[in-house]
Symmetry: C4
Subunit: 219 residues, 4 copies
């Protein structure tokens, strides 16, 4: 009797709670909509760091913009992957509390920040001046962003916000998979002072690693 | 018989009214979608106020950008909190009328404006020139924004747009909680002429206050 | 038997058609989502036309930016009102065809353009140089935008895309209400060559006119 | 019994899977929301390439901006059409896998890039310097974008992600219709070195071709 038709849709659909008599259950629907918007705008603003060359040797000048392309690709893929992992996370989370909303807000604050160190690193890789500091700032932004993301996982596990189908061992696997990026970004900060391009390459490798699918949670 | 399966989903879901025979009930679904978009873009445009330093002492120059970081954090958190409160408000509002749409439009106009005084205050805090005026303009924008937000609450209470589960004492509590920010922003305008950083700090404290959860409305 | 629980939700929800056996009915759900995004971004980009003054008489310089504020308010309210009318229109439209999608695309192209004549008119009203041409370009953009909007109404009426509850006399009223803005914008183009501020004022009056609610379609 | 009321809504609605006991089915709902956001922002950022002329012959100077208008229209319509085709594609796709998400991410990366070659081509068509290289870069970006889009079709056909109502011959028709743009963009790269405006015109013709409706898939 738990699956009577009149109850199931109202319980399942986040938008269906408006007309129900009691206070609506906290849902993740608008959190996801707002986050999707921030991810999409932050990813799209990256293109503003690409400045059209003004000189008379356009093909040569465009080739000289390789730091802009490299940082654009790494930053875009990183934002895209955070979006994909955010997407996967909120399919596993059944409900949101106020603390999760606030932690998510800090995540979005660092995601939104990404175009700034991206433009900074592109400019400094092209000129060679202080490129180590710029690469360290870039990797540090990625680290702050992934710490924010990781904290939403920790909180969801702590408060058992995950859906019932997520077992203990799944949570452990998800935490291990998500924590590995933290160490890579921390390493990239240190490596920045030896080689700025190598530091950027590590950030790119993190993006490619998370592009690959994780272990399915069906067993 | 009120919960017959054929009626409940159609009444509950805002997107389900398209194929119904009568004129659709005014819903808040697209108001929320458009507002989410404006909140997300306004929050993300704040990063354009962060200009990469061009000099040869990057670490030092980045440290000198603290007014840009401080205003970025206060403005981002403020927009994020308006979003969260907007989110909470429209979970309590069961239907929207034309006046509410117009009041919401004025709210969004001031939210969209926030990147302008944010950049202005960051520049003036860094140079020290006319920073009092810039801080007063910043706090005044926050005040105009929160007056717009408050007016949507007043209107919703006046026209009883809230869902049935919101009792009179809940509305009173929500109004008191929302009005306190107005007085803080008004004070920040005056304090700006004594100290611009103190005025910004008050705006930051308002953001942190609203980050903390309010009293639940379940009793 | 037409309201059996298994059929009603699938027919009513635009997002519910994915798993149905036949080809999905054309719905307006994603058209609205994409349009909401464009409206929200175009409205928010207007703030980039507000440039922080660099001089040492900030209060005086901010007062001198009145053309930027006036054009910001008129453009923001105009985009907001197009969004509201778009919202109302697609509550009346039961299904979208390819032509409607294309006409909507042209509408969005002119909405997206609005920040350009807005910045142009603000600059020219401040300097006084060629302000008539700038005001005419501004009003012409509004006219092109409203012709695009009107054409989606004409097409919807012609192909009977409106829901069954919209009667013939309602369509006639909606067309008359929407066509009045066209004449006002056309007049604003001519008046621009006599007075640029008067031309902007007419565009503002059109916005206020459409902010007021139209006749309800319930009779 | 397959259409029991308790199962049908849960299976049909992407947002309805949150509260189901098992892991949620991969759906395309948030992929579409994020993509819509990126399309909308990329299309709207194009307006930032339109710079208000500063001179004293505004009407003449505005007429001289024709390369900016032409590239704006072609780029906006192209992004709009990719959105429309993306819209149509995900009405045909019943489920998304991780690879499709990644391929879609690459598509969005090239869509987001479009404002950069658009501004570049507008500037170079106006000055006449290196306009061939700029037109080739513009057409190459369009080619990379359409290869990404085509690859999502190939993958969907390969992994049979399309809904059951899509027959084999429909997939073949869709692939043929989508591949024709690839050849046109490749031709536009070569033609750019003979005539930059002709290359842009070909990109515009591709946009108009896809604006026209394809064969319906109902037979």
């Amino acid at each position: 009797m738990a699956q009577t038709p009149s109850e199931q849709p109202a319980a399942a659909s986040p938008t269906a709670t408006t007309a129900t008599p009691g206070p609506p259950e906290p849902s993740t629907a608008r959190l996801e909509a707002f986050s999707d918007g921030v991810f999409a705008v932050a990813a799209t603003l990256l293109v503003l760091n690409l400045k059209a060359p003004a000189g008379h040797h356009l093909a040569h000048d465009l080739a000289g913009l390789w730091p802009s392309y490299a940082t654009y690709v790494v930053s875009f893929l990183t934002i895209g992957i955070i979006w994909m992992n955010h997407h996967a996370q909120y399919e596993r989370i059944a409900r949101a509390d106020r603390t999760l909303l606030v932690l998510n807000l800090f995540l979005l604050m660092f995601v939104t920040l990404i175009p700034f160190p991206t433009g900074l690193l592109a400019t400094r890789l092209a000129s060679g001046a202080n490129e180590q500091v710029a690469a360290a700032v870039y990797a540090a932004t990625m680290l702050a962003m992934s710490i924010s993301f990781f904290s939403t996982y920790i909180w969801s596990a702590h408060r058992r916000l995950f859906g019932d189908w997520i077992r203990e061992r799944h949570v452990g696997y998800l935490l291990r998979r998500n924590v590995s990026g933290l160490f890579a970004y921390a390493a990239a900060i240190g490596i920045a002072f030896a080689s700025a391009p190598a530091s950027l390459a590590i950030c790119g490798i993190v993006a490619v690693y998370y592009l690959l699918p994780g272990r399915p949670l069906t067993d």
